[in-house]
Amino acid sequence: MFFRGTGNIKGYILVIAIFEAMLLVILYAPAGYLNEALRIVPAASLSVSEYGPGVDLYYGYITVDGREFLVFSSSNLTGALKLLTGRGLEVLNPAVGCKIDRPDVKNYVKDLSGFRVEALGCMGSFIDYSIMAPWNIFQRLTSFINGPVGRVYLKNHVEDGIAVPSAYTVSRNLLKMVRFHQNFLYIISTVILTLSGFVLGLRASSDVKHTLGLLIEMRIPRYSTLFNVFLVISGATVIGIVVGYGLAYVTVPVALIFLRLLLKIPYIYALPDIEAVVNIFPSALLALFSYTTAISLKIR
C-alpha cells in the first residue's frame, strides 16, 4: 500500500485525490448549498406600492412577433433589481431574461434602442421572461409600448423599519455563520492535510530512495528523476482537486436526496461554488510541498 512505500504511483495519486475530495466536500458543499438557497429564496422583505417613497419601477408591454413582453426600468435600476432578485446586478445596456434570450427578441430591442442587448442568467422569476432597460434607454422605448407606462414603488420592509426577518435575511445570516465555521475548518484541514502530507512523504521516501538507487545504477540523473516525481505529484494534485470537486457534485446531492426521503429534510439543489476549485489550491499546494519536503529531507 501507498503508506508502506510500495512504489505504487497510482496509490499516491489516489490518496491525494481522496484527500482533496474530502476536504472539498467538508469545506465547500454546505456553504455552496446555503449560497444557492440564498439565490433561490426571493428577497421577501419587498413590498410594492403605488405611492413613494421607494425605488420607482416603470413598466409596460411591447409586442414582438405577436407576443407581448414585459419591459421595465427604473431611475435606480440596480437598486430595483437588488430588491427584486436579491443580487447586485448592473445593467448598462438593455437586457433580456434567460427564457426569452432569442435572436428575434434581442434584434427587435436592439433595433428600437440602438444599443447592444445582453442576456441575463436565469433567476427563476418573472425577470427571466422580461426585458430590462436602463432609464435613459427606456425613455426611447416608451413610444413603442402598448398602452400607458405604469409606475410603482418598490420598498424594502427592513429598511422601512418593519423588521420582520424574511427567509432571505435568515439565509444570509446563516451563510455568514457557516462562512465563519468554514474558515475555521479550512485552517484545521490545511494543518491536518499538511501534516498528513509530511507523514506520507516520510513513509514513501524509503521507496523513492530505493527507486532512485535503481535509477542511478541505470545512469539516470537523480535530480531529473526527482523533478519528474514532483511533476507527477503536482499533476496528481491538480487532477485530485478537479475530481474532488466532481465528487462533491455527485455525493452531496445524492446524500441530501436520501436525507429527504428518510427524514423529510427539504432538498435544495445547489452547485458548490466554482471558486472552491481556486480556493482549495493554497491548501493543496501546502500539502504537496510538505509531502515533497519530507521525501527530499530523507533522501538527501
Partner: protein, 493 residues
C-alpha cells in the same frame, strides 16, 4: 443454427412488445407522434424540410418517416412504425457490442428480452413512441458499437455521427460522454504502456464533439437555449461525469455500491415518488420491489464481474452521469423531463449488465436454467406495465383520432383541452388553448383518459375535478358524446 433461431425468437418477442400499442390501438403511441407525423406529411407534400422551431431542429425522425412513406408508398400514419421497428432492431447492435465484452455469445442472445422487458420502467412507453429520442436510439446503439469496433473508418463515423447529432441532442450528449470516457481510459492505458486505441477514441471524440457543438450552436442561434441545455447544466454535467468517473474508477466495490444507491432513487423517481409534481401516484408495492430486485441483483453482479472492461466502464459512467445529473439538478418539472430521457440509457446499461451476468453463469451448473427463469419472470413481470401502458394516458386510439377528425369540421371556436389532445388537435389544425381556470361559454374537449387518469399538463397529470368539478360538468352542455371524445360548453362557473 439453434443459436440464431433463439436470437430471432427473442427479437420477434421484443418487436411484438414495441408494436403492441400500434397493434392494439392502430395509431402511433405518445403525443409527440402527431407532431412528427404532421412534419413528415409536410415534407412528403411540399418536398421541403423546414428548420423553424424546436421539433424541426433534429429532423432525422421527420425525414425518416417521410422517406419510408415515399419509398414504400405507405401512408405516413403507418410509416411512423419504422421508429419502434428500429428500436427493436437496436438489440442487434447491442448483441454485437456485448460479444466484444463476453466470449460466451449464447448467453447474451437474451439482450432483446432484457432490454424490452426491464422492470425499471415500462420500456414500451419509450420504445413504442414516435419521438426524436426513440428515433435516435438505434443510432446511439450503432454509434457506441461502432466506436468500440476494431477499425474506425472516419468517413463512416462522420456519417453516423451526423445522423446522431441530427436525431436528438440528449442522445448526442450520451454518445459524447461515452466517447470521452473511452478516450480517458485509452489515455490512461497509454500512460501505463498498455495496448490502447487512443487514436480511435480521439478521432471519435473530435468528430462527434465538433458535429454536436456545431449543430447545437446553430440550433441555439435559431431557437435560443433549450432545456436541459444551458451554461449551468453543461458545467454541471462536466463535474458530475468527473465525480461518477472517479467513483467508477476507484474500484469495483465503489462502482457497484454507488449503483445500489442510484438504482432505488431511479425506481422511486420513475414511480413519481421523488419529484415534486402534482401527479397522483400509488406507493410502490412490495411486488414491484421484488421485480426490481430480481433485475438489479444479477445486473449488479454482472457489472462487478465485467467492471474491468473499459466498454462497460464507459457505459457505466455515461449512463450514470445522465441519471445523477437529472436527479440532482432539479426535483421539479424540468428534472422529471431530463430524468425520463436519462432513464432510457440507464435501463439500457442495466440490461447489458444483466446479460453479462447470464454469460457468467451460463457455464455454471444450473446456469442456463436460472437465466431462463429470470428472463421468463421479467417478461411476465412486465406484462402488467405493458397492458397498463397500452391503455394508459399516453396512448391514443384510432376511434379517438377518427372522432376528433369528424368533430373538426363542426368546430368554429377554439376549444380548451389538455396537452394530450393538444398534440392531436395541432395535427388536425383544431384551434385550442390549454386548461386553466375555466370561464363561461368556453368549449371543453376531453377524452377518455382525462376522466380515468386526469388531464395532462406538460409531463404531469392533474385530476380533472381540479379544473372541472362535477357540479360544473353537470351544468355544462354536452355537445359531443363519442366513445372517446366528449365536448362540453361551460354554462356555470
Amino acid at each position: 443454427m439453434l443459436k440464431y433461431c433463439a436470437f430471432t425468437g427473442a427479437l420477434v418477442l421484443a418487436m411484438l412488445a414495441v408494436f403492441s400499442p400500434w397493434l392494439a390501438n392502430r395509431v402511433p403511441y405518445i403525443g409527440d407522434s402527431w407532431i412528427h407525423l404532421g412534419k413528415a406529411e409536410d415534407i412528403v407534400s411540399s418536398g421541403r424540410m423546414r428548420l423553424e422551431e424546436y421539433n424541426d431542429m433534429w429532423p432525422s425522425i421527420n425525414v425518416l418517416i417521410a422517406l419510408y412513406s415515399i419509398v414504400t408508398e405507405v401512408i405516413p400514419l403507418t410509416s411512423t412504425q419504422i421508429v419502434p421497428f428500429l428500436v427493436a432492431l437496436s438489440a442487434v447492435n447491442l448483441y454485437i457490442l456485448l460479444s466484444r465484452v463476453s466470449k460466451k455469445t449464447n448467453a447474451i442472445l437474451s439482450i432483446p428480452v432484457a432490454l424490452v422487458f426491464t422492470p425499471l420502467y415500462t420500456f414500451i412507453t419509450f420504445g413504442s413512441a414516435v419521438m426524436k429520442e426513440t428515433a435516435a436510439f438505434f443510432l446511439v446503439t450503432l454509434a457506441i458499437t461502432y466506436i468500440t469496433s476494431f477499425r474506425l473508418r472516419p468517413l463512416c463515423f462522420i456519417i453516423l455521427a451526423l445522423g446522431l447529432v441530427l436525431s436528438h441532442h440528449f442522445a448526442s450528449l450520451f454518445a459524447l460522454i461515452f466517447c470521452t470516457v473511452m478516450l480517458i481510459e485509452d489515455l490512461s492505458s497509454s500512460l501505463n504502456g498498455e495496448v490502447n486505441d487512443l487514436k480511435r477514441s480521439l478521432a471519435a471524440v473530435l468528430i462527434l464533439g465538433a458535429l454536436t457543438l456545431s449543430w447545437n450552436s446553430f440550433t441555439i442561434y435559431r431557437i435560443g437555449w433549450f432545456s436541459p441545455i444551458s451554461r449551468e447544466s453543461l458545467l454541471m454535467i462536466v463535474f458530475v461525469s468527473l465525480g461518477v468517473y472517479a467513483i467508477a474508477r476507484i474500484g469495483v466495490v465503489s462502482a457497484s455500491l454507488f449503483q445500489a444507491f442510484i438504482f432505488p432513487l431511479s425506481a422511486l423517481a420513475w414511480r413519481g415518488q421523488l419529484h415534486d409534481i402534482p401527479t397522483p401516484v400509488n406507493t410502490i408495492s412490495v411486488w414491484e420491489i421484488r421485480d426490481l430486485a430480481v433485475f438489479i441483483v444479477p445486473a449488479l453482479i454482472g457489472l462487478a464481474l465485467f467492471w474491468r472492461n473499459k466498454i462497460i466502464r464507459g457505459l457505466l459512467v455515461s449512463t450514470t452521469t445522465l441519471i445523477v445529473f437529472s436527479i440532482t439538478s432539479d426535483l421539479g418539472y424540468n428534472g422529471l423531463v431530463v430524468f425520463t430521457k436519462s432513464l432510457h440509457y440507464y435501463a439500457l446499461f442495466l440490461s447489458l449488465s444483466l446479460c453479462l451476468f447470464f454469460s457468467f453463469i451460463s457455464s455454471k451448473k444450473f446456469g442456463k436454467i436460472i437465466s431462463s427463469i429470470i428472463l421468463v419472470f421479467l417478461v411476465f413481470a412486465s406484462m402488467t406495465g405493458i397492458s397498463l401502458a397500452i391503455n394508459g394516458p399516453g396512448a391514443y386510439h384510432y376511434v379517438e383520432y377518427a372522432e376528433l377528425k369528424k368533430l373538426k369540421d363542426k368546430l368554429h371556436e377554439p376549444v380548451v383541452t389538455d396537452v394530450k389532445l393538444g398534440y392531436i388537435s395541432d395535427y388536425l389544425k383544431i384551434g385550442h388553448t390549454m386548461f386553466s381556470r375555466l370561464k363561461g361559454n368556453e368549449y371543453i374537449l376531453l377524452t377518455r383518459s382525462d376522466f380515468t387518469h386526469g388531464i395532462l399538463l406538460g409531463y404531469v397529470w392533474v385530476e380533472l375535478s381540479f379544473f372541472m368539478p362535477s357540479y360544473m360538468m353537470l351544468s355544462s352542455d354536452r355537445l359531443f358524446d363519442g366513445g372517446y371524445i366528449k365536448m362540453f360548453r361551460v354554462n356555470y362557473v
